[in-house]
């Protein structure tokens, strides 16, 4: 396991001599080109999360994320003859949350960026890390398949809405310094069917997925410790993406962003002044020592949003090379005084370790 840790340590110790590109607000996203990878940026990910139900109502959450990380210094690689030489590292996180058993299954894989071991292809769209793969015409219209020793998924995704550009036209600022930002878009509602398997049990499932694609070179400032990210799909057919960045004091508010995608697919940046994300109850991980809020009160007064986000069960911690909590949640509350319900995915970083060090 330490090998993997060592590998991830490069994130904090990289000393690339050739500068990477930083996100630029003037640069608009062009598709399908920007579905693919952007090697001129240091970090990139394609995030699939979703909620799946069996015919008899058993609920599962899943996550399948492909990360790409550049190991800096392109100059050195261009000098190399072996096709195994690379400065691209890919790693994938795969998890299933079983609400009935209250069990969180997770796995992680690493590979050097090298065809056919691990690579990203734009057209037709492919994310490949050995036999874990996403393939389709776009990231939204795609098949997902991954098989860990004790669990696997095989899902087909179909977008119900067009993709949503996050931030300002896909430029998502992560703090007060514009340097710390990313290019970011989402498919916020993907109709999902397929099978999952846990142990020897197979389940036919249907549900909703969410896909994020984000790339950047610098995400967090030194004073930031981590983030809380919410992907919320409501029964009024709207979706909300919210995140807050926390500073080194942990719970203190630092920077908050929200975006609403309405039933018709029109998105709107939310006015977050006066907004509060208040932790209500916590889960303390015995393995990592991290204390994660697993129930939140989210209020955005200017937008008349008042929601409660509750994890479907406590322990959905990813004990991977980077330790974080990523899991399915239930949503209830009011928007514009109308009752809403929904399902969400919550990601919390920086509780077990200082995540900003990995992005210095």
């Amino acid at each position: 396991m330490y090998w993997l840790l060592c590998i991830v340590m490069f994130l904090s110790h990289s000393s690339w001599s050739e500068p990477f590109e930083v996100a630029n607000p003037a640069q608009s996203l062009v598709f399908p080109r920007d579905h693919g990878e952007h090697r001129s940026f240091k970090t990139e990910w394609w995030y699939y999360t979703g909620h799946l139900l069996t015919e008899d109502g058993r609920r599962f959450g899943y996550q399948l994320t492909f990360f790409r990380n550049a190991l800096g210094n392109k100059v050195h690689v261009s000098d190399r003859k072996s096709k195994w030489a690379t400065n691209q590292l890919y790693f994938t996180h795969f998890a299933i949350s079983d609400s009935q058993e209250k069990k969180h299954h997770f796995a992680e894989r690493f590979s050097r960026g090298m065809k056919p071991l691990a690579f990203i292809q734009t057209q037709p769209f492919q994310l490949v890390l050995e036999d874990w793969l996403v393939s389709g015409s776009t990231p939204g219209t795609a098949n997902l398949s991954a098989k860990a020793p004790k669990f696997e998924i095989n899902l087909q995704l179909q977008p119900k809405k067009d993709l949503m550009l996050q931030g300002s036209n896909g430029f998502s600022q992560k703090g007060f310094n514009r340097k710390n930002s990313s290019h970011y878009y989402s498919y916020s509602r993907l109709y999902t069917t397929g099978q999952i398997k846990i142990g020897d049990q197979k389940f036919n499932v249907t549900g909703q997925s969410w896909m994020d694609h984000e790339y950047s070179t610098s995400l967090l400032e030194k004073s930031q410790r981590g983030w809380d990210w919410f992907a919320i799909q409501l029964n009024n057919q709207s979706e909300l993406m919210l995140f807050q960045l926390r500073d080194q004091r942990g719970s203190y508010y630092y920077y908050r962003v929200g975006k609403l995608n309405d039933k018709g697919g029109n998105s709107k940046t939310l006015d977050m002044s006066g907004a509060e994300f208040v932790p209500i109850s916590y889960f303390k991980s015995e393995k990592s020592g991290g204390q994660y809020p697993i129930k939140w009160k989210v209020t955005i007064p200017k937008e008349n949003i008042d929601l409660t986000v509750t994890a479907i069960f406590e322990n959905q911690e990813m004990m991977t090379s980077v330790v974080y909590w990523e899991g399915a949640t239930d949503i209830s509350g009011q928007i514009n005084k109308g009752q809403v319900k929904g399902m969400g995915y919550l990601e919390m970083t920086g509780y077990a370790e200082n995540i900003s060090k990995r992005f210095e």
């Binding site: 330490y2 090998w3 110790h13 800096g72 050195h76 096709k83 030489a85 400065n87 590979s111 050995e130």
Partner: protein
Amino acid sequence: MNSLLGRLCFKSLRYQPKLLILLMTSIAIGVSLIVGMDIAIQSSNLAFERTTSSLTGKATHQIIGSGQGVSDQVYFEIRKITQNIAPVMKEDVYVVGFGKIPFKLLGVDPFAEAPFRDYFDSQYAKESISIEALLTRKNAVVLSNTLANRFGVRQGSSLSVVVGGRPFQLFVASTIEPRDKINDRFLQDVIVADISVAKELSNRFDTLDQIDVLVDRDDQETLDKIQNVLPKGVQVVLSANRTRTIREMTKAFETNLFALSLLALLVGLFLVWSAMSFSVIRRKSEFSLLRCMGLTSKQIFLMIAFQALLVGLGGALVGVLFGAFMGKFLVLSVSQTMSDLFFVTHVRQASWTFATVLKGITFGVLGSLLAMLLPALEVARIRPREGLSLKTIEVTQYGRIISKCLLVSVFVLLLSAGLLIGQPKSLMASLVAALGVILAFSAIIPLAAWIVVRMLSCIKKLTVLEFAAWRLLHALPRTAIPMAALMVSLATVIGITGMVESFRETVVSWLDQRLVGDVYITVPNQGPSRAPAVLDEKVIAFLKSSSEVSRLEYLRSISVETNLGPSQLVAFENNSFKNPKAFLQSIVPPKEVWKKVLGGDIMISEPLAFRWGIKKAGEAIDLLTPKGWRSFKIAAIYYDYASSQGVIGMSLSNYQELFSDMRVNAVAAILKNSTRSSDISTNSLERLKSIQVLDIKPNRDIRSEVMEIFSRTFSITQSLKWLAVFVAFVGIMSSLLSQTIENIREYGLLRAIGFRRGEISLQIFCESLLMSLIAWVVSVPLGVMLTYIMVYIINYRAFGWTLQMHLDKTLFLHTLLLTILAATLSSIYPSWKTLQLRPMEMLKLDQ
């Protein structure tokens, strides 16, 4: 034992410091031999473990190809079936300025490594390792801190190396502190690099040397799936089987080391026995006095035993320290031999365990107790007054001793012969039998002494010598043992020299047969563990076009899988096999063997036939070729001394067709003008060397190089041989010294009746010379016999080599001179000691 007796023990030892030193020295030498050899064997074991564990890791299986490795594509396919696989590249790396033993470059994929090798699974490593540099930098490597210190480099430094004959500058991307000492030791031979770097350094871009696999024992399903995607010429093998093959190769070497340590034990035991019996018998008047004072036989016995225990313990402790020191040198020798013969190793530390120390101490104490047993029983049996009278014991007993020893000798000889015949294959049995023969001859010493004395007494006018002879005969219980020790040492010298000489002669005549080229061109310094590097095509092209060259002969050497295990396959187009002496046996007349080989048969070398138990030419072996498994008939078994592991010989044209591989590892150039002492012009040399770093050697240089490796291989044997001589010399001297001390009163008497100082010295020298000569007389037949056993039995059983026995007669003369030298040197101190005293003092001393 009561306290009075205890005090007596200590005091009697304290008042005889010289005797105490003599006893302890004898024991210390014996123990140090045991400890030294044990350390050498331990280091051989360690070298083996390091090689296998550092490279095999925790893999349960390995996927290997037919000589040219496994295609990358196979790895990618299997990666989809299971993630518990890891690609591996291995290459020999010569670090400039660090000698001729290569280091092992281990190319791995850091992302696939975790389940296999855990060098970096360390809290220390994670801070310092730079995966970024390891993956992206050209020629980046990781070294353990210990290795980095040895090379004098640190993170960010560069390291000059030669790989496959081409120079490179390695970039030290990281140095790591391995998790524990075991890993640290493993990493002392190994330079770790990313697989991409290893591929670039080895110039093999599309293949892997092997794929390591970790599969549960009962997971046949995964194994089957893997099997299904493997192309022809690639197979899954159990890691343990491959490790076992290397183990078997080194085992014979270790057994021989063990045999040397047994010999050391025997010589050491002789020494302790000799010293202990002297000590006991010398003090018999003291014991008689004690008996007169009322001590029982049992108490006397216990007292001697207790003293033996004390002396044994003291001597053993000193011996362990000596041994540890000696072990340091032996380890270097063992390490070099292992690298020459089996696999690359840089084991330098003398690794000694508690068990080694315990073994040494146990040997010292038990040996000393065992040695005192007979004399102590004898002394304990004497009646109170008896011991006070002079020399009653020895004078009356030599006849009985001779007959008893003769019986023992015949019995042991028969037993040894039985063992040799009854166990026709066992190496251990032949070694034990050799020791038996040594023991049997040792037991002949009293008889030999008696015969020599009888012969001397027939010759008149030899008063001094005859006198010395009779004194020697009467003191047989004391003198026989050091004589036996010297005899064993001399026989060892004859035996080992004879064996090494026979080996040398055989190899020289084999080289004459086989070296047909004038100049040989290879990539330099190839380690024994893998197929040598390939010659650049431009080198071949240049040679072909050279006006100096009349003809070229090519050789290709690869590792190949067979149904009997992995082996080296050598493909050549050599005419030397026309010589009928080249073959041990063949299915057709020797002159037609090559035709058969050209027709598709193979030959195997004698050591391989021995190792695989192939008794007759005509049997078949299956080889894994890129076209799948193929069966080959063995047309002949041929003599070959190039490899103790054995090789399969094939014609180059057949190889090229079967393996679709046109590369070669060596070229023999037959020059147009061979009168020019087999050299090619400086111009050509420079042109060739600008293409690739090459070893371009005239025929004669190859011979001297083979001989150099040869001498290195036997250096440990040679050093042990001289050690045995030294031990025996000390034995003779200590025995003479004791005898002189004991007989001092007698010498005083001789002086008193008119003997001059010179005559006394002559007397002592004659005794010494006689003892040595008797030892030499017996050592000659034993030496010849040992040579025979080593050449025809032990060597064949250990390595599968048939050697021609060759014993130079001057060797006997040399050992005779050595004997006389030993006699002279060992008589100097006792003579000087005697001459220091006046006759009256001498007469008083013994009272």
